[in-house]
């Protein structure tokens, strides 16, 4: 078996960082100056929301072409010699790993400019392109990608289809195949709900890449339970595939140690060390440890050649403001340079997952997906794609479907199967089993060979005399797995069905859902979308007098596209506020769903105020702040010197009409005395901490109804004020009955 041995980090040949160089070019009478290589790369890409926010995107087409002209004239050696450093001028660990390249091949191409390299690759076959990819760092791959148009991104990626496969229990990514990850996410990790979604997906020929669940709760007990459950379903159905629960790598290592079937190990990656370590709590050393552990301890150690599963997507570094001045495509390529070290079984790209602050619309999302797929394939990865969207961006299902068509043409290894495209846990929209089958039929593709043989044996597919694979009689019929002694078990099917929200139905029209099911799904999604764009109507939230304050976001568009604006009051407002020193300040904001406020506040606010008044607390007049985010609590708390800020805010709608009215209550406790601040700093390890947070979510008629939520919030306020703490420190103090004096 061809299992990769990790190269010692110290053995990776690195250039010495030097001061960044500016780049100049004159085009059509205009002279452009780019401060450094990062700005050249940023400006050379199409304009995307995240790069615009970071000040990296070109301001017009001529500037973009100027940057591309600069790139076209730079050599690979120049890029090797001028590493993109972090804000401290150092090569971070992710960049470091990216320099683990094939130096012998690099020596043969180092003299080429990126323009020459592009032309060379377009004239080449897949084998040559693959060989070149191994000799490139992520930054080089990003630079090349900025010079490619849509046809070139599709064409070059397609040439890389051969050789992009990886092997676990099944081989995924072979030419002529399109696989899928079956994603049975459930909002409460309900095992029956997962079973229903797994049965449904398997019956649609999905899941040959992996049965992979995003858990709602990331702890060892829950992850172990779900791993064992996925393993049970895999064994019972006989489907030749592998399983994964996408929890943190540390949790999975603990589960593996406890004997849980961690067949493939998952981790989200980032393209800068600060994002990777500060936000994802992962280091290269930890990834090395996990990889080595899997080689010896995975249940698939005897059969697999690849053990890791990574997810990436343009924009996460930028969202955390830890992108070190690099554009989104470049940090994405750096993720691939890191992933390459571990020869993963799957890399899944979920560009579009974050929202409009990174990708505003279909154009931006589709192009980024094509870039990412090509970059990953060029760097030798087994790339699958999850073009997806959230309802608060302007990306739509039509744009997502166009992306999948193009990516299938480009040879993506796999897509997701989220039943009817609606993720019931993560409140976003992805590809479905119907989409996967539609694409297989359109492009004459098959699932992985081992899985196909099983699916034919179950009547899910049939293979005719000419070797064409078509849907069989059992395609799309999950009932085939609800049987005992060969007979359909209605009761079992009923129980499973009742455990999944937003299921809408199982009728199909060929490879597509029936029109009835599609209309139901789309109508629910439409309500979610409208919840985001609906304006807050103060007259509809009861008759309690509120004071209206403005955030720094002037309108809905600014609010959706720049989360930082909604996290602060407008300067003009701040000037008018004075310290009030109240015990509690309630803040109501539309957040991402004004409808959540309309539906919950009329019953919740009176109950909450009655509860707080029963304890004779000093309560500031409740505030209504349009276009707010959770961190607005701190702006208001600091200005009014309130002890505890309770923010009632609309959450990001998902695909279920009812859940689109979901609101949360965030409790921000201001650490305004030295002893409490010190206790919080000691507990958190963050010396600068000045607020502690708790949250109560899922406030809507299908979860915690507003009338009950008013009581639960009031009781939580009593606890926070009594213990002078919020968050995990509060829970810890309560557990030990440690009431401060």
């Amino acid at each position: 078996m061809a299992i990769k041995i990790l190269k010692d980090l110290k053995a990776i040949k690195l250039p010495k960082p030097s001061a960044p160089l500016p780049y100049f070019i004159t085009m059509h009478g205009r002279t452009f100056t780019f401060r450094d290589l990062k700005h050249v790369l940023g400006a050379a890409d199409i304009s995307k929301a995240g790069d615009r926010k970071a000040g990296l995107a070109a301001t017009d087409e001529i500037m973009r072409e100027a940057a591309r002209a600069v790139l076209s004239g730079l050599t690979l050696q120049h890029f090797f010699d001028n590493p993109l450093t972090n804000n401290q001028g150092q090569i971070d660990s992710v960049m470091w790993v990216n320099y683990d390249i094939d130096h012998a091949t690099f020596a043969t191409i180092a003299h080429l400019t990126f323009g020459e390299l592009k032309d060379d690759l377009l004239k080449s076959t897949g084998a040559h392109i693959r060989q070149i990819g191994v000799a490139l760092t992520g930054v080089m791959v990003a630079a090349l990608t900025k010079l490619l148009d849509v046809h070139e991104l599709v064409l070059l990626a397609k040439k890389l289809k051969t050789g992009a496969s990886a092997k676990a229990r099944t081989v995924v990514g072979l030419p002529g195949t399109l696989s899928s990850r079956l994603q049975p996410n459930h909002p409460t990790d309900n095992l029956s709900g997962m079973t229903m979604l797994l049965y449904t997906g398997l019956s649609m020929g999905s899941g040959d890449a992996i049965l992979g669940l995003n858990p709602a709760i990331d702890n060892v007990a829950n992850i172990s339970a779900t791993l064992h459950h996925l393993d049970k379903i895999r064994r019972e159905t006989g489907a030749p595939t592998q399983i994964c629960v996408l929890s943190h790598i540390k949790t999975q290592l603990a589960c593996l140690k406890d004997g849980a079937p961690v067949e493939i190990m998952f981790q989200s990656l980032a393209g800068t060390e600060r994002t990777l370590t500060d936000e994802f709590d992962v280091t290269v050393e930890l990834l090395d440890h996990a990889y080595k552990t899997m080689q010896t301890s995975s249940p698939l150690a005897e059969v697999a050649e690849n053990f890791m599963y990574f997810e990436t997507g343009q924009g996460s570094e930028l969202t955390y403001n830890k992108h070190e001045g690099m554009d989104m495509a470049t940090t994405e390529a750096l993720c691939y340079g890191l992933a390459r070290r571990y020869s993963p079984f799957m890399v899944n790209n979920v560009t579009g997952f974050i929202g409009p602050e990174t990708h505003l619309d279909n154009h931006e999302m589709i192009y980024s997906c094509l870039q990412d797929h090509f970059m990953g394939k060029l760097m030798g990865l087994a790339m699958g794609m999850a073009p997806c969207y959230t309802l608060h961006s302007q990306v739509t299902i039509e744009g997502q479907q166009m992306a999948t068509e193009l990516l299938t043409a480009a040879g993506a290894n796999f897509f997701m199967d989220v039943y009817l495209g609606t993720d019931r846990m993560l409140a976003y929209f992805d590809t479905s089993g119907h989409d996967d089958q539609t694409l297989r039929e359109t492009y004459n593709l098959r699932p992985a060979p081992e899985f196909l043989a099983w699916a034919i044996s179950r009547g899910i597919f049939i293979e005719d005399a000419d070797g064409n694979v078509q849907r069989g009689a059992n395609w799309g019929n999950p009932k085939i797995f609800c049987t005992a002694e060969g007979k359909f078990q209605e009761s079992e099917f009923q129980r499973l069905q009742e455990s999944v929200p937003a299921i809408y139905g199982f009728e199909n029209a060929g490879a597509r859902p029936s029109n009835r099911v599609a209309r139901l799904m789309k109508a629910n999604q439409a309500i979610g979308r409208e919840a985001i764009y609906a304006d807050l109507r103060p007259a509809e939230i009861g008759d309690i007098a509120l004071r209206e304050l403005h955030t720094a976001a002037n309108n809905k568009s600014e609010h959706l596209n720049d989360p930082a604006l909604g996290a602060m009051l407008a300067d003009s407002v701040l000037k008018t506020l004075k310290a009030e020193h109240n015990d509690v300040q309630i803040v109501i904001s539309d957040g991402l769903s004004a409808e959540a406020i309309h539906h919950n506040i009329p019953n919740l606010l009176p109950v909450l105020l009655d509860g707080l008044n029963s304890r004779k607390l000093n309560i500031g007049q409740p505030i209504l702040a349009l276009f707010g985010r959770v961190k607005l609590a701190e702006s208001i708390g600091d200005a009014l010197a309130a002890q505890l800020i309770v923010t009632l805010i609309g959450e990001r709608p998902g695909g279920d009409a009812l859940a689109s009215r979901s609101m949360s209550a965030y409790f921000a406790y201001r650490l305004n005395d030295k002893a409490t601040q010190k206790a919080a700093a000691d507990f958190s390890g963050n010396a600068e901490i000045h607020y502690e947070y708790s949250v109560l979510s899922n406030i809507y008629s299908g979860g915690l109804p507003s009338i009950e939520a008013g009581s639960v919030i009031a009781e939580k306020v009593f606890e926070i004020l009594q213990y002078k703490a919020a968050g995990n420190r509060l829970e810890n103090l309560m557990q030990h009955h440690l009431i401060p004096h």
Binding site: N190, A225, F353, E498, S614, Y666, I707
Partner: protein, 511 residues
């Protein structure tokens, strides 16, 4: 991929635990002591909110242990408590809930960790439910298993309800518009229940069963005849006594009576039950219902045999079990009325339907925002449901209920009706009005802080209602408000211990 939740960007937060822990399993125990046989079932399940009903329910149920039915040990007419004790210990040990050292026959000490049982039920029927037997059984169950398991004796309608839920609950929800009539035919009784979309609408109980006539195995030589059997012999003018062998013609006449009675139940033929013999065989008549041609299903021991037969399985030889079970199964299969759905609809659990129903359906799970100022007051057993009231109920009914509650030192329960159908706009006003009404009557009747007063309500408003009644926990510490529990026609209710912010609620004395 990881990305911050949009509205919570860059905020490290701690979620308030207003929900249960996912995939943490609880154990459920069911014990069924009947005239003829006894059995036990242990299941584990998670607690989660159903997407269909919207209520907290057991989910991901796994049957951990299923005993073989054994003959209920009697010494004459008296339950053999020593053998029963050993039997319970044996079941617990086999299920993994108890330990082997508790197997000493006759031991009343147990090594069972009762705290791991979330809820359970024990039903005692027929001969086992006769006064002294029921008391002795209840005592021994309590001693061994603790107070998580509630023993209920001689509650025939509850038994019918449990048999339906154990066999047809999910099937009935699958065929959402189709009424189902389940006949649970055991040794002594036929428990009938009609349900639709998972809800039982009507129940009845008849002394029709396999063991009213007991035979020497392999023949029809009579070894014993119950009082009901004797009445049949008399009515049919069959002159047979113990030791005699019934001929085929006589057997057919007896079976024919049973089949006609079962057909009359199915057809709603009240005229059949006007005869003295048929009346004598009626413990509780199932009320007439407006659902023509319900789907007929069977459970109980005879039901088990029947479905085996229908599936082409060979039935055991004549009176293999020493009774009419096989003959009844054959005769039902030959009745066009009774066998109409035999090969189309298959209930679950069949022979063990009651104990399944007992284990998995006898307990409701409360909502997770209940009002419970003193969790240590639980469990509460045998609280009488003294009234069912709504805001619109006349004042004298409210007054009478609270007056009665004040006299009940050990506590009482009031069910509140009418809130589940309220529209959203009225809910808060009506909740406050209800709280005021309860508070006023509570104060007027001078209830003490040691008398538990349980308010049961279907709507999810328990915590807020309790807070308004008690001035946010500052008075009336004996008040408990439990919500999201469907209202039942029952005389008593039991509330188990708090677990993951939920409590188990079970009813008995159903009517």
């Amino acid at each position: 991929m990881e990305a911050p939740v949009d509205s919570a960007a860059h905020v490290s937060i701690n979620a308030v635990s207003a929900c249960v822990k996912p995939n943490e399993r609880v154990h459920l125990l069911g014990l069924d002591f009947g005239s003829t046989t006894s059995s036990a079932l242990v299941a584990s399940a998670t607690l989660s909110r159903s997407s269909a009903s919207g209520r907290m329910e057991f989910s991901d149920t796994v049957i951990e242990f299923r005993s073989e039915p054994v003959f209920t040990p009697f010494i004459g007419q008296t339950i053999d408590i020593v053998k029963v004790t050993a039997l319970i210990h044996y079941w617990l040990q086999q299920s993994g809930l108890g330990v082997a050292s508790a197997l000493n026959i006759g031991s009343e000490t147990s090594h069972l960790n009762t705290s791991i049982i979330f809820s359970g039920g024990s039903i005692i029927t027929g001969l086992a439910a006769q006064a002294d037997n029921a008391a002795a059984l209840s005592k021994v169950i309590h001693l061994i298993v603790g107070d998580s398991v509630i023993a209920t004796a001689d509650d025939s309608c509850l038994e019918s309800w449990l048999a339906f839920m154990g066999s047809c609950s999910a099937l009935s929800r699958y065929h959402i518009d189709k009424p189902i009539l389940n006949l649970d035919i055991g040794g002594g009784t036929t428990n009938a229940a009609l349900g639709i979309n998972g809800d039982v609408l009507e129940t009845g109980c008849y002394f029709i069963g396999a063991r009213h006539f007991q035979f020497a195995v392999g023949s029809y030589q009579l070894l014993a005849v119950s009082n009901y059997g004797a009445a049949i012999l008399k009515d049919l003018k069959i002159k047979a006594t113990i030791g005699d062998t019934l001929n085929i013609n006589e057997c057919e006449k007896i079976i024919s009576f049973y089949i006609k009675a079962l057909e009359a139940i199915v057809l709603g033929n009240t005229e059949f039950f006007s005869s003295a013999l048929a009346q004598a065989h009626t413990q509780v008549a199932i009320q007439s219902y407006d659902y023509p041609e319900p789907t007929i299903t069977f459970s109980g021991g005879v039901g088990e045999l029947l479905y085996q037969h229908a599936a082409g399985g060979a039935l055991a030889s004549t009176t293999f079990f020493g009774d009419f079970g096989i003959d009844l199964a054959r005769a039902i299969a030959h009745s066009p009325i009774l066998s109409a759905n035999l090969n189309t609809e298959q209930p679950e659990n069949k022979g063990r339907a009651t104990v399944y129903g007992l284990t998995l359906h006898s307990t409701e799970v409360s909502g997770h925002t209940i009002f419970l100022p003193k969790p240590d007051c639980l469990p509460l057993r045998d609280l009488p449901i003294i009234a069912k009231l709504s805001l619109q109920s006349p004042n004298d009914q409210w007054q009478r209920a609270f007056s009665l509650a004040a006299k009940r030192e050990l506590g009482a329960c009031i069910q509140i009706m009418g809130f589940d159908a309220l529209n959203h706009d009225k809910l808060l006003d009506e909740t406050r009005a209800l709280a005021q009404k309860i508070k006023a009557h509570y104060s007027a009747n001078q209830m003490t802080n040691t008398q538990p007063l349980l308010i049961l309500i279907e709507a999810n408003i328990g915590k807020t209602l309790g807070n308004y009644i008690s001035d946010w926990g500052q008075c009336m510490q004996n008040m408990i408000v439990i919500d999201e529990v469907p209202l039942r026609n029952a005389h008593f209710v039991n509330i188990g211990r708090l677990h993951q912010q939920l409590v188990p609620v079970s009813f008995f004395g159903m009517h």
